[in-house]
Every structure is written in C-alpha cells, then in structure tokens.
Amino acid sequence: MIGNLIREVRFLTKDSGALFWLALAFFLSVIAVSFGVAEVRDQRKTIGTLIEEDAADRANALEGQEDWGGAAYYAFHLTHAPPSDFAFAAMGQRDSSPWKHRVRMLALEGQIHEADTRNADFGLIGRFDFAFLAASVAPLLLILLLYDLRAAERSARRHDLLVATAGSPAQLWLPRALVRVVALSALLLIPLWGASIIVGTSPDIVFKATVILVGALLIWWLIVELVSRINASPSVLLTSLIGLWLALAIVVPALSTAAIEARQPLPNGGEILLLQRETVNDAWDLPKEATMTPFLKEHPEWSDHATLETAFEWKWYYAFQQVGDQKTAPLVEQYRSARLARDREAGLASFLSPTSFVERSFEKLAGTDAASMIAYENAVRDFHKQLRAFHYPYLFPDEPYDSEKLKDLPRFEP
C-alpha cells in the first residue's frame, strides 16, 4: 500500500493539470482566510471605537440631567456581538443581520429591529470566505481532480491493461484518488490552521472544522467514484458530475428554502412596529389607567407608587413604553419562533445537500448562524430588562435624583 501511495505521489507531481487545481485550492484558501482575518480585525476595531464613543456620548448626555426620567431618556447604551475567534472562516449572518445596536429605556420593539448592516451589494452577493470555499468550490475542485482518473486511462487505451496488471482495482484507483483527496484537503486546511493559530482559535473548533471539511470531501469523493464507474467518455462524466454538483449545491438548497419559507410563514415584521407605535402614541390620549393597569399587572411591586398627580410624569411615560412592548410581545414571539422554526427545518434540510451542511456547520462553529444572531437579540432584550430594573426603583418611589447612582448603570456584556 505504501509503495502504491509513493508511486501515486510521484505520478501526481508530474500531472500538471492536477497540480494546477491543487495550487488553485491553496491560493484560494489563503485569500479567503486572510480576508476573513482582516474583516474580523476590522469589526473588532469598530466595536472598540464604538465602546469608547458610546461611553463619551452617554457621559455627555447624562451631564446636566435633573431627573431620573430625563437621564433614562437621553442615555443610549451600545450593545454588540463581537465576532468569535472562528468568525474569520465563516461570516455567515453577520452580513445580513445587525450585530450592534444602541438602545435606551424607550419601548424596545421600536429599536431592536434597526438594521445597521453594510452595503446591500455585500449581503446580496456574499463574501468569499472559507466556508464558501469549503462548501461550494472545494467539491468542484475535487470533481475536476478525480473525474478522469479512469476515463483518462480509457482514452489512452491503458485502462484494461492497468486493471489486468494491478491485481485488484483497489490497489490502483484507491491510492491514486486517495493521494489527490488528501492533497486537496491538506492544501485547503493549512491556511485555515495557520490563521487559527494566529488568532488563537480553540483547537477543539479547528478539529471540528477539519472533520467537517474532510467528511464533506469524502462524500463528494464517493459520489465521483460511483459516477466514474460508468463507462463513458471523460466529458460526459464531467458533465454529469457538474450536473450533480449543481443539483446538490444550488437546486436542492433553493427548493428547500422555498419549501421551508412557505411552510413557516413569518408574521409581517412591519405589524410589530405599527402595533407598538400605535400603542405608545395612543396612550397619550387614553385615560392613565389604560396604561397603568396592564403595567401593574406585570409589575405589582409598584402598585403603591403608581398614583399620578400631574398630566405628565416620567413613570407614566415609561409605563406606556413598556406596555407598548407588552402588547407586541405575542407578535414578537411569533416572529422569533418562526425564525427559529425556519432555522431548525433548514438544519434538517441541510442533510440533503453537503454544501448547505458544510456552510451551516461552519457558521455554527463560528457563531454566525441564525441561532447565534437570535441569541444576540435575546441578550439585547435581557439588557433592556436590566435597564428597566435599574431605573424603576428610582422612578416609581420618586427617589431624589442622584447622578452618582448612575455610575452603577448596567453595562452590556456580550
């Protein structure tokens, strides 16, 4: 076996076509990984600047405030989801979902759907990241490396002779293909490993990524192997393989997406906003009980401090902000659970397409999948709850304003 492998390595070094595909794989991997690392660095830098500027802006806004209500109204708080140490390999949803917000104590539903995303063309076309390379391009390169192992020998009329002299076909084709699959995997993975060492990705994640990539290539190898047993010309084989690639990489995911989205309709997001805005705006004209009753149902602890004396009081203002959120909560929950359901079904559907499976798995490892983005949104919701929990004990009992106490304002910890 070793002898066979050494022989095949020697053959490979003389096959200029194969060497070209392998070199291309390495080159593309270096490009994908280095752009990824640069992008992650850029996003970290942006977050660093934002944290500083946000603190300065808040300090400035709080200066000269005279009551708790005003302080809460003018102080914005940055929330953000930093890229993980594997995000360089799969930017995933970070290009289409927001990963930073500035929120304040007003109704959260009016703020959390703000989308601070980049140039729309980026989200439309997508990045050339390692996940895309591994999921979509690597299988094509593998096909180009393997499709004519047999057929080329057939065209050269050596096939039958080779098979006859090799003893068993396994000794001939297996080492030949194995050398190519190993070379392709290694050349794709080396830049990934290098970058992981530089950015300090945990070995556990790198190991998983390696297993996923190698596993996917093995599946594609199996597909190529089965197809190329057909006794046909190299060009017919390549055509059929490209057709299979198209089916698995493009058609199946597109059909699954369409089916999933039809099965799991999303409530119209605009309705959430509309309902929230109307609740908040109508509250001004409604009797104050219409706000305070539903509010106190959620927060009975403030019942003793909820009597309102003047036409405008901050506690009433923040109460109807919260009621706006309370009223939209069922719709918001529906929206979120539909997104989660879509993601769950997409996870199942990805078993039908190695391409989708690889891309999703990488996004999961990198924390850039839909579930992670939803988890970030949940973290923002929790933080907003903390903001309310901080302010209500000052607002409702009419505690005298003390700017010193604002030093303990909750901070967002990603």
Partner: protein
C-alpha cells in the same frame, strides 16, 4: 451562407441525438419555468401588499384625532418601496435592504425587516431567481453544449475533409457559432416573455428591451468563449475542464472576491458609527424639545426683532413651534450630510465592484441587470432620499401648524390638567399636510445611463471574445 446554415443544422442534429444534452437542456428549461412563475407571483404579491400598506399608513395618519401637532411628529409615518415590474426577473437588493422605513421627527431610521435576515439559511446560493439562472446556469449549459463544438470535427477527422474542400476555418466557425446562437435565441424566449409581462405592468418598452439585450450580449460572450476554447484546445476533456474553470472563476470566485476587496479597500462606516460622530456635533445644535436651550438665544433675538416685540409671549406665533421647525431644519441638514457621505462611500464600493467586471462578465451583467431592473443599490439610495424628503416635509408642515395654530400660552400650559391639554391640541384636519407617497422606478433612460460602465465592460467582453474566435478560426490548420 448556405454552407454556414448547413453546418449549424448538422450541429443541431447531433445535439438532439445526445441524451445528455437533451436532458440538460430540459432541466434548465424546467428550472427557468418554475423559478420565473414563483418569482413573478411573489413579486406581484409584494407589490400589491406594499401598495396596500402604504395606503393604509396614510389612512391611519389622516384618521388620528385632534391632538398636539408635535405628537404627530412622533406618531410618524411609513414609506414602503414596492418592487418595480422587472423585479419579477431580477429582485436585486430588495431582499437584503428591507422595504419599509419608519419616518419620525428628529431621526432618520434604517429600512427594516429585510427578508434575508429571517430567511431559512442554507448557504450561499439558497435563493434562485430567473436572473441568477441566466447569469450562472445558462453559461454552464452553453459549455456543456459547445465545449467540443469545433473539436469534434478535429477528433473525427472531418476537419481535414472540410478544409480540403476549400472551406475556411472561419466559415466552419461561423456555422458552429450560428448553431450556438440559435440555442441562445431559444433560451432568450423566457426572458422575453417576462419582459413583455413587465411591460404590461407598466415597465417602459426601452427598459424591457435593454434588459433582454443585455442578457443576449452576456450569453453571446459565453458562446464566443466556449467556441474559442473548442477551436484552440485539442482535447475534449481539456476543453471542458478549462471552460469549467473559467466558469468557476467568473461566476463564483471573482464576484465574491470583488466584494471582499471593495469592502476592504473602502471603509464605509455603519450607521451607528457615523451617528456617534454626528451626535457630538448635534449636541452643539441644541435639543429641539427645549426652547430655552442657549443655542436658540440667537434665533430668539432675530425672531423678536422681526416681529418687533420684547418677549416670546408677545409673539403672534408660537415660539416653541418656531424652535421645533428651526432645529429640525438644522438637524436634517446635519443628518443628510452624514447620510450622503455614507451613501457615496457605498456607491464608490459598488463602483469598484463593477470594475471587477473586467475580470468577470458575470459581474458586469449582474450590475447591468440590477440597474436596468431598478433593483440596484442606487435605487435603494434614491428610496432613502425620497422617503427622507417625505419625512422632512410632513414634520416641517406639522411644525408650521405648531407655530401658527397653537398659542404659546396654551402650549406651555399643556400638562396642567385634562382641559388644558385639550386646548393644546389642533383640529385633526391639519394632518392632511402629509403628502401621498408612491415610490416609482426612475425612467428607463436614466437607468441605462447609470449602467454605462457595466454596459461598456460587457461590450468590451463581447468584442474581445468574438475577436479571439475570429483570430483562432483563421489560424485553423490540421
């Protein structure tokens, strides 16, 4: 001429006999048909839905009861962007940007609820549109059909016979080109149907015709590349391999690489980032809610002098309304300068991306088709600008109502009791100041003008690839 047609006919006879080719073509036809029908229905739904939402939003605004005009400034309004007729073929950035935007005083919001944010995530190509099939799949079909177009004659030895009969390589190449051209023309039919349908929805003939023309050119570029490879290369498998590589490079690698490169080369700060910079400046302008802010002292002196009175209480107009209007105008100037800066950075990123069209015709046709269809980034930017104008107009009209129809004394006293706050409201007829907003695609001529760069790149590709075919065909020897 008759020779060319005979060669083309012979090619078609062979194609129709090949199971692989017939199956491949049928699959592409089926995909095109299904995708077109699905996209047309989806876009038609969205079109009517958003129009209805726009009308509904206006109705809601008009139906608001008597109240303080500034409350209406915060009540706000919505602008919706319905997809243009050609979105049925090329939905473009619509899915990424979000199509509705909330408009209110003192703020410029972003468009919200983009489809992609809530889409089922199955990787890079998950959404198929008729346009992406034309951009990605049809070139592959042309490759499968044509990679051995010329080579076949060489392999079977008929090339020698044909050349010996006195036919030139160019004639033979033209016959093959005619065969491929017929394929391209047949595959233009679905696009022509969709384009005709879009005309029935109000698209101009010029717009529909130019998108058809653009794709025809694009497919001809691929046809010429395929033909050139089959003339120059000597082995079927090599020709197919090289062409697949060209496709992989042009359709998958370069566009995404171009995105990486233009995002790395031109840094367009996000909204939060530029907002924070702006906020520092904004604080200098003062807070429009607080008429006693020192930043308004100068304004106050001017207005008092204009009306020749001593105190703001004596003014015939409501001082708070004046302040609201003044600070909204100043703030908007600032907001717009930051928004314009952000948009121009994004536009230069997109221009840089378009230049990568020189390395990939797929980029050129993609930009061309989004621009012709009116679903490009520039149209989204125009939507942002127009909705901003809508926002500013209704906010300022309300501020005018605030200044002219509500007395300062009532206004200052508005929180005293229920009766006082009733007095500090204006009749709801004033809400009619809101303009009707119907976002429409711009004129076809303008869209075509915007696509000049991509169009020039595509024409360059066409000329270059056809020249290569001619040069290669003239040199054909045995």
């Amino acid at each position: 001429m008759s020779m060319i047609i005979r060669i083309a006919k012979e090619e078609w006879r062979l194609w129709l006999r090949s199971k692989v080719i017939v199956v491949a073509a049928l699959i592409v036809v089926a995909l095109l048909a299904v995708t077109s029908v699905l996209t047309i229905n989806r876009v038609a739904d969205e079109q009517s839905q958003r129009l209805a939402q726009q009308v509904e939003a206006e109705k809601t605004f008009f139906a608001q009861p008597d109240r303080h005009p500034h409350r209406m400034v915060h009540f706000g309004h919505y602008a919706f962007r319905p997809p243009p007729p050609l979105a049925a073929f090329e939905p473009g950035v619509d899915a990424v940007t979000g199509q509705s935007i909330f408009l209110e005083g003192h703020r410029q919001n972003t468009a919200m609820f983009a489809d992609t944010k809530a889409a089922a995530d199955l990787g890079g190509f998950a959404a198929l549109t008729p346009a992406s099939l034309y951009q990605l799949l049809l070139p592959l079909l042309l490759i499968v059909l044509g990679h051995a177009l010329f080579l076949r004659e060489r392999e079977s030895g008929t090339l020698a016979v044909i050349l010996a009969q006195g036919q030139s390589g160019v004639t033979l190449a033209m016959g093959k080109a005619a065969a491929l051209l017929a394929v391209i023309l047949i595959f233009m039919i679905p696009l022509i149907l969709v384009a005709t349908y879009s005309v029935s929805l109000g698209e101009s003939g010029l717009g529909a015709f130019s998108i058809v023309g653009g794709y025809f050119m694009y497919l001809c570029v691929w046809g010429a590349i395929v033909l050139a490879a089959s003339i120059i290369l000597k082995q079927r498998a090599v020709s197919l391999g090289v062409l697949i590589f060209v496709w992989l490079f042009a359709a998958l690698i370069v566009p995404r690489f171009a995105i990486n490169a233009s995002s790395a080369a031109i840094d367009a700060p996000g909204k939060i980032e530029s907002d924070l910079v702006m906020l520092a400046e904004q604080r200098k302008l003062g807070d429009g809610h607080n008429a006693a802010d020192p930043a308004f002292q100068r304004l106050q002196a001017e207005v008092l002098e204009q009306y020749d009175v001593e105190t703001i209480e004596e003014l015939p107009i409501n001082w708070r309304g004046v302040v609201a209007s003044y600070s909204e105008a100043e703030l908007t100037k600032l907001l717009n300068s930051y928004a314009e800066n952000r948009m121009s950075l994004e536009a230069s990123q997109s221009r840089m991306f378009d230049l990568f069209g020189l390395a990939s015709p797929t980029i050129a046709i993609g930009s061309l088709s989004r621009t012709f269809a009116g679903t490009d980034l520039a149209t989204h930017h125009r939507f942002l600008r127009e909705s901003e104008k809508l926002r500013f107009d209704f906010v300022q009209s309300l501020n005018e109502v605030h200044a002219n129809e509500l007395s300062y004394a009532d206004d200052m006293n508005r929180n005293a009791d229920a009766e006082a706050s009733r007095r500090a409201s204006v009749n709801s007829e004033a809400w009619q100041v809101l303009d009707e907003f119907r976002f429409a695609p711009d004129a076809a001529g303008e869209r075509i003008g915007r696509a000049t760069l991509s169009l020039a790149v595509l024409v360059a590709w066409l000329l270059a690839s056809i020249s290569i075919v001619f040069l290669a065909a003239r040199k054909v020897r045995l």
